[in-house]
């Protein structure tokens, strides 16, 4: 026990001595949360739009007025021909256009149901779909106003109610997720680099020659980095509260317990990386790429349920996937532990598995 304590004290001294670490742990999470939390959004706003008015009637003017008043669109004026619209599309200056045909009002009066063409730049498929949704519902509203309140016959109307995030704000979804990503990045990368550095310097072999042994050596590395991870996690929580005003709806203690399990798995990964690489540069490469894969397959950007079945199976091996849903569940929905058991078991199991594998590899290297 005393030996591990000595090792832990040594690690903390080294950490305190390295200014960059302190910046990484206290400043970087704040800055990254602010930058990424504001930049990452899949809300679609300010869609540049023009209307090609071929009718010049009171009806077409009302449509133009209604669309130009909507803040979801960045109304770029009225054009006379679709030729101009085509050119603006090619240059990327507009993303959507409405084409009101000649005789629009007359045909409506005759009950012919004339068609308004909706032209949309589909390069960004997601935004295109959302824009089309906005335009459709706006057109529906305009029609409703024109038809008036007279009875439209039997029907049903959906009254949506959005739980946990009534304003449908992206940040409520992304900011808690970002805290998990930052934790993954720092803990796995720092551990890997720290151990490989000792390897490069040759101090690791000296430590191994002491009566410490592989297991104690690893425990002596795990303790300080777990503490660092938890500190950084707390900084993230505070930043989310102060900068974005997002409180934790669920049990804070449960959140920390889950974070601890998650850190076990990321430290395990970091130590494992350190046993398969020999230079800091390689360790960083491997840590960086495992982070990109973990990020993409975590459900952070895209719900895991949307992925093809095979890819969904691969995500089961990703600790970040579990922590991502744990964070969102506890942060937004206040989900109790009994519903998060599978995630807890997966992260704990992975942590133990990875640390055991890394310790075994450590021993093999010794002989």
């Amino acid at each position: 026990m005393g030996r591990i304590k000595a090792l832990v004290i040594k690690e903390f001294r080294q950490i305190r001595r390295t200014r960059a670490y302190l910046g990484l742990i206290f400043v970087a999470p704040f800055v990254q949360l602010i930058v990424m939390g504001s930049a990452i959004t899949n809300e679609v706003k300010d869609i540049p739009l023009i209307v090609v008015d071929g009718d010049h009637s009171p009806a077409s003017r009302e449509i133009i007025n209604r669309f130009s008043a909507l803040s979801l669109f960045d109304f770029r004026g009225v054009a006379d021909s679709t030729v101009r619209a085509d050119r603006l599309f090619d240059r990327g200056e507009i993303k959507a256009a409405l084409v009101i045909p000649r005789g629009f009002e007359r045909d409506m009066g005759r009950g012919l149901s004339p068609q308004i063409q909706v032209l949309i730049d589909g390069v960004d498929g997601n935004s295109a779909g959302v824009s089309l949704g906005y335009i459709t519902s706006m057109a529906g509203e305009i029609q409703k106003g024109w038809i008036g309140s007279r009875a439209t016959g039997a029907g049903a109307e959906i009254v949506p109610r959005f739980y946990y995030n009534p304003g449908l704000e992206s940040k409520l979804n992304f900011v808690p997720g970002l805290i998990g990503i930052l934790l993954f990045m720092i803990t796995s990368m720092l551990t890997a680099i720290n151990i490989v550095r000792e390897k490069e310097l040759g101090t690791l072999e000296q430590l191994m020659a002491t009566p410490l042994g592989g297991i104690r050596l690893i425990v002596g590395k795990i303790i300080p980095f777990t503490v660092l991870g938890l500190v950084q996690f707390s900084v993230g929580l505070i930043a989310a509260r102060l900068v974005f005003g997002i409180p934790v709806a669920g049990n804070l203690l449960l959140l920390y317990f889950m974070a601890l399990l998650f850190i076990m798995s990321t430290l395990g990964l970091g130590i494992f990386i350190s046993t398969v690489t020999s230079t800091q540069q390689q360790a960083m490469f491997v840590a960086w790429f495992s982070m990109i894969f973990a990020l993409l397959l975590s459900g952070f950007f895209v719900p895991v349920g949307n992925m093809p079945p095979l890819v969904q199976k691969i995500t089961l091996l990703n600790p970040l996937r579990y922590f991502m849903s744990v964070l969102r569940e506890i942060y937004l929905k206040g989900t109790p532990f009994r519903y998060l058991l599978p995630e807890a078991a997966a992260m704990g199991g992975m942590g133990i598995g990875l640390i055991t594998a890394a310790t075994l590899r450590f021993h093999r290297r010794l002989e």
């Binding site: 930058v35 679609v44 409506m108 439209t152 029907g155 739980y163 409520l172």
Partner: protein, 363 residues
């Protein structure tokens, strides 16, 4: 003159080929990322868990449920007596939305009135919640038969008619990988010589500084360029990414952008003293902003105004516009003079900056 340049070039190639692990990663990582982005990023939702709380238990409500079941989008669970605790359903993740059919549903319809259907949606994923809301509304209104409105909308989606995500991501991935490889590898290669002290030895040799830099940088240019072409080819084979415009124009623009990456890498190398710092600085100063603020995934127009300003000084923003324009829209040089000109301008500024920084370091 040429000889010493060639010698530095050859020396750098030897370095590259000696580190097999890194070389392997440089060549396979882009393909792995392409596969991941291509297959994992799919914004089409399906198999949504919907619980229908049917308090009406009438033929009319049964009919509505059948309409929901008929779509692939939903996985329907019917709770006959109604749902008492919606929150618990959401927290246990057994349902993403709950549709409440009121007890007087059939009566309201028989009276020719509009019946309200309460739809509770778990909006912890706001994007998904929005989709679900729209989709349920559409299914419900279709279940009452298409009514002819005063006018109709006829949507036409340009450039990417099926609204697939691959044509959007793959060109972006080319931009990201080119930058990652060029900036990261250049900065590390230069800083490595600094760290080991061999840079000073090179500088006192008769080889001129510009020859050292050019000789070191050129091999990585080729690697980056090769990666870009690889992604383009694989994207075409695997995800049917169109090349509407001129392939030659794409390559010319890629070259301009490679220069951007290299000068960014050189700039980082002048401030970083160790490989670890160089790597962290490159990633946080160039790769992350290019990934997050250029419109690679997230639309620039939705960001706060300050970030929109930042996006205008990020070279990737313009390169993305260019490469998506050529590949998907068939843009020619005439359409691209603005982003192309700005990209060239940024290149010029970056090169001047890095030459200045390098000179200061020399003294």
């Amino acid at each position: 003159m040429k000889k010493s340049l060639a010698a530095v070039f050859r020396k750098e190639l030897i370095h590259i080929f000696r580190d097999k692990q890194s070389l392997f990663m440089v060549l396979t990582m882009p393909l792995m990322m392409l596969l991941l982005y291509g297959y994992a990023i799919n914004l089409d939702m399906r198999g949504i868990e919907i619980t229908v709380s049917d308090r009406s238990l009438s033929p009319r409500s049964g009919e509505l449920i059948r309409h929901l079941e008929a779509t692939e989008f939903f996985h329907v669970t019917v709770a006959g007596g109604g749902v008492s605790d919606v929150g618990d359903l959401f927290r246990s993740r057994r349902a993403q939305c709950v549709l409440e059919i009121p007890g007087d549903y059939a009566d309201l319809l028989a009276a020719g009135k509009t019946a309200p259907l309460l739809l509770a949606i778990d909006a912890s994923d706001p994007n998904g919640a929005n989709f679900i809301g729209n989709y349920v509304a559409r299914v419900v209104s279709l279940s009452f038969g298409e009514r002819q409105g005063l006018f109709a909308l006829e949507p036409r989606i340009f450039y990417n008619p099926d609204m697939r995500s691959a044509p959007f991501f793959v060109p972006g991935l080319i931009a990201l990988i080119l930058l990652l490889i060029c900036a990261l590898l250049t900065s590390i290669a230069i800083v490595r010589e600094k760290e080991t002290g061999s840079m000073e030895q090179l500088l006192v040799s008769p080889v001129r500084p510009w020859q050292i830099i050019l000789g070191k940088v050129l091999p990585y240019t080729f690697l980056g360029f090769l990666d870009g072409l690889m992604i383009l080819g694989a994207g075409r084979l695997l995800f049917r990414i169109p090349v509407e415009g001129s392939l030659l124009l794409v390559m010319a623009m890629m070259l301009i952008y490679v220069v951007t990456g290299l000068s960014l890498g050189m700039l980082v190398s002048t401030i970083a003293s160790t490989q670890a710092v160089a790597m962290l600085a490159t990633v946080s100063l160039t790769v992350l902003p290019s990934m997050l603020m250029s419109g690679f995934i997230f639309p620039v127009s939705s960001m706060p105004p300050l970030f929109q300003l930042v996006s205008r000084i990020i070279p990737a923003t313009y390169f993305l516009e260019i490469i998506r324009g050529i590949l998907l829209k068939g843009n020619s040089l005439a359409d691209l003079y603005r982003p192309g000109g700005i990209l060239l301008g940024l290149d010029g500024i970056l090169i001047l900056l890095s030459i200045r920084a390098f000179r200061i370091r020399l003294e």
